[in-house]
């Protein structure tokens, strides 16, 4: 089966500390994947490498069909290729309305002149309304994003990612700081999204991961320790030792 993203043999070190050590990882076109690991396992650095924020010292990152290298592209270029990223802390533009936030994220030409001339068509407005419906923010479209609750901001950010129509979605701890009801909604959103695209969820919370019902990759000290179903990895001796056990 052709893979959407293939990371192989990637290493990166900061001042001699190997944050990522010969890491290999791949994900298919429409797949949900959870990445777990203890603090300092390199989960965030792993995302930084894929999105272009951190340049790897060695290794290859190939993407799409036909496979192209993502190494050396700028963050904005990689985002245009179809890699969307959600940060741990909800980062929405608080000074702007929910609708403006979504409109900015809609998949359109990103060049300055095209953006300057851009005026939303009826189709764009409908799409924004549709997205708002999906993330449950229809009633707050006209309000400034800064007035939303923490959970609503998380959804808005997920909505912005969906608006980008990425082929790969990287989600960093989406359930952090959410109420149980909000978590359930988030799980549904992610599962729904994974039907049409690849979704990688980095998460601490085992219960949340279990509810995602997907393959799990366990990171430890910058490389893959185990991979498989949640039941498989939770029974793995090494995983228990470094992460679950004590």
């Amino acid at each position: 089966m052709p893979q959407l993203l293939e990371v192989s043999g990637v290493s990166v070190s900061f001042d001699g500390f190997k944050a990522i050590n010969n890491l290999s990882f791949s994900i298919g076109e429409a797949e949900l994947r959870a990445v777990i690991g203890p603090n300092g396992a390199g989960k965030t650095t792993f995302m930084d490498i894929i999105t272009g924020k951190t340049r790897p010292d060695s290794g290859t990152i190939t993407w799409g069909e036909p496979p192209r290298s993502l190494r050396g592209l700028s963050e904005s270029r990689i985002a245009q290729e179809g890699v969307g990223r959600k940060f741990q802390r909800p980062t929405v533009f608080e000074d702007q309305s929910v609708a403006d936030n979504l409109l900015m994220a809609l998949k359109k030409d990103r060049g300055p002149l095209a953006v300057l001339m851009f005026r939303p068509s009826q189709a764009d407005r409908d799409r924004v309304a549709e997205l708002a419906e999906e993330i449950g923010l229809t009633a707050t479209l006209g309000r400034k994003a800064g007035e939303l609750s923490h959970g609503q901001k998380q959804w808005l950010e997920i909505g912005m990612l969906l608006a980008q129509e990425p082929r790969l979605l990287l989600v960093d701890e989406p359930a952090a700081g959410m109420t149980p009801a909000e978590r359930e909604h988030t799980t549904d959103l992610l599962k729904e999204a994974a039907k049409t695209r690849a979704v990688v969820v980095v998460e601490h919370d085992m219960e949340f991961v279990r509810r995602l019902e997907c393959r799990v990759t366990v990171l430890h000290e910058g490389s893959v320790l185990a991979e498989g179903s949640i039941d498989h990895v939770t029974k793995d001796e090494q995983v228990i030792e470094v992460y679950l056990g004590r």
């Binding site: 963050e75 904005s76 990223r85 000074d95 060049g111 009826q122 708002a132 980008q164």
Partner: protein, 419 residues
């Protein structure tokens, strides 16, 4: 569900979506009309020609403040170099004014000679007239287009634009941001100003260009009329600049640059090339500043390198901060108010303030007052004078949960502002 408030009507024209544009244009038109009716050259004479010039210059300063607000208030780039672009615009138009007028004088004086003068003689005559003061008698290379008004007017736009493009490309590409970028722009400004101070810079060193208020070939037209022409042109340029800036910040482009101001990395991960947007705004505002300068200096009559010194750009930032950055009318209010007050206080008209043994003479104390009001605005009213409008319209701003109020790291945080 598509028929929410957001999705409802098709787009209305810009001025209807932003009523502040209409209000601004109406105020500007009324002001222009009032000055025209009261001016020496066209009306009752209640306003002297020199004050018409002051008002016209103020309008140009408002225009450059708009540019500063666009680049700083909206895009978060605290440039301390925009008055350099302003000065370059002034130099570009000043070169033609000085050349053309000196040429008329030289031609006239040579007309009585027994033999008709050759073009070389005329050219040498002009050069001696203009550059005698710095001990030169030949045209430096930068004056190559000075004979042509069209080319010099092109230079008003192209030189600041190209300089901003090259400088911005180098700076933004290396991801220089925040205070480091401010220092870099200030260094550029200082370097330019120091270079121009040299006699062999080709622009008459510290003498600068003078006599710019005299338009070539219009010797019979009184200054009272010329001052009004420039006043009208400045008002027109300000109105046009306001509409242009309002249009730029109105749509998605405005959203993106405000996003860059608030969270640059997030915009990058949305797929926007932050560097390209910054470069666009930086260059556009440099061009606006150049045009404002080209209108300002013929009214001022003289330009010299001191006008380009970094302090001028710092004043510009102070005006925008006091007026209220991130809103266009705020920049205009700040520039108009502070520069007119400054004219009043430093013109010796303000009465001295006697506080016991201390006699406060405003000519000296004005800068201190300005400095204190800048500190005051920064600490207690980060929205500036423009924030007063919010009290009227009760525009609610979001709680930013203690995030930085300003675009730069280290600016005031919400919690601190409330205390």
């Amino acid at each position: 569900m598509a028929d929410t408030a957001f999705a409802a009507p098709p787009r209305r024209p810009l001025v209807l979506r932003q009523p502040s544009i209409l209000v601004f244009l109406a105020c500007l038109a009324l002001f222009t009309l009032a000055v025209t009716l009261l001016a020496d050259g066209s009306g009752t004479g209640a306003i002297s020609t020199s004050f018409v010039k002051t008002l016209g210059k103020t309008l140009c300063l408002c225009l450059v403040a708009l540019a500063m607000d666009l680049v700083w208030g909206y895009c978060g780039i605290l440039s301390l170099g925009h008055m350099a672009f302003f000065g370059i615009g002034g130099y570009a138009v000043g070169m033609w004014l000085m050349y053309a007028r000196t040429r008329l004088i030289v031609v006239e004086s040579l007309a009585n000679a027994p033999l008709p003068p050759t073009p070389e003689e005329i050219s040498d005559g002009i050069a001696t007239q203009i550059f005698g003061v710095v001990g030169a008698s030949e045209f430096p290379p930068v004056w190559i287009f000075a004979h042509s008004l069209t080319l010099q007017l092109l230079a008003v736009v192209l030189v600041p634009g190209l300089l901003a493009l090259v400088f911005g490309w180098l700076a933004f590409r290396s991801r220089v941001t925040g205070v480091y970028l401010s220092i870099l722009t200030q260094a550029m400004t200082l370097a330019l100003s120091l270079y121009l101070f040299q006699n062999d810079s080709g622009l008459r060193g510290n003498n600068g260009l003078s006599g710019l208020q005299n338009l070539p070939g219009l010797g019979e037209v009184p200054q009272s009329a010329i001052s009004l022409w420039f006043f009208w042109a400045s008002a027109f340029a300000l109105g046009l600049g306001y509409v242009l800036c309002a249009w730029v910040v109105s749509g998605k482009f405005g959203s993106v640059i405000r996003g860059i101001r608030d969270d640059e990395a997030r915009v990058r991960f949305l797929g926007y090339s932050v560097e390209a947007f910054k470069l666009f705004v930086f260059t556009l505002t440099a061009i606006i500043a150049g045009i404002a300068g080209a209108l300002y200096y013929p009214q001022a009559g003289i330009i010299n390198p001191a006008e380009i010194a970094p302090i001028a750009s710092i004043y510009l930032a102070v005006w925008v901060a006091i007026g209220g950055r991130g809103r266009l009318y705020g920049a205009v209010i700040g520039a108009a108010l502070v520069s007119l007050l400054s004219t009043w206080f430093t013109g010796g008209q303000a009465p001295d303030l006697v506080l016991g043994p201390v006699r406060i003479q405003w000519v000296d104390w004005w800068t201190i007052l300005l400095g204190l009001s800048f500190v005051g605005v920064t600490l207690f009213a980060p929205k500036g004078i423009g924030g007063l409008v919010d009290l009227v319209t009760e525009r609610r701003s979001p709680s930013r949960h203690g995030a930085d109020l300003g675009p730069d790291h280290g600016s005031l945080r919400e919690r601190e502002a409330q205390e």
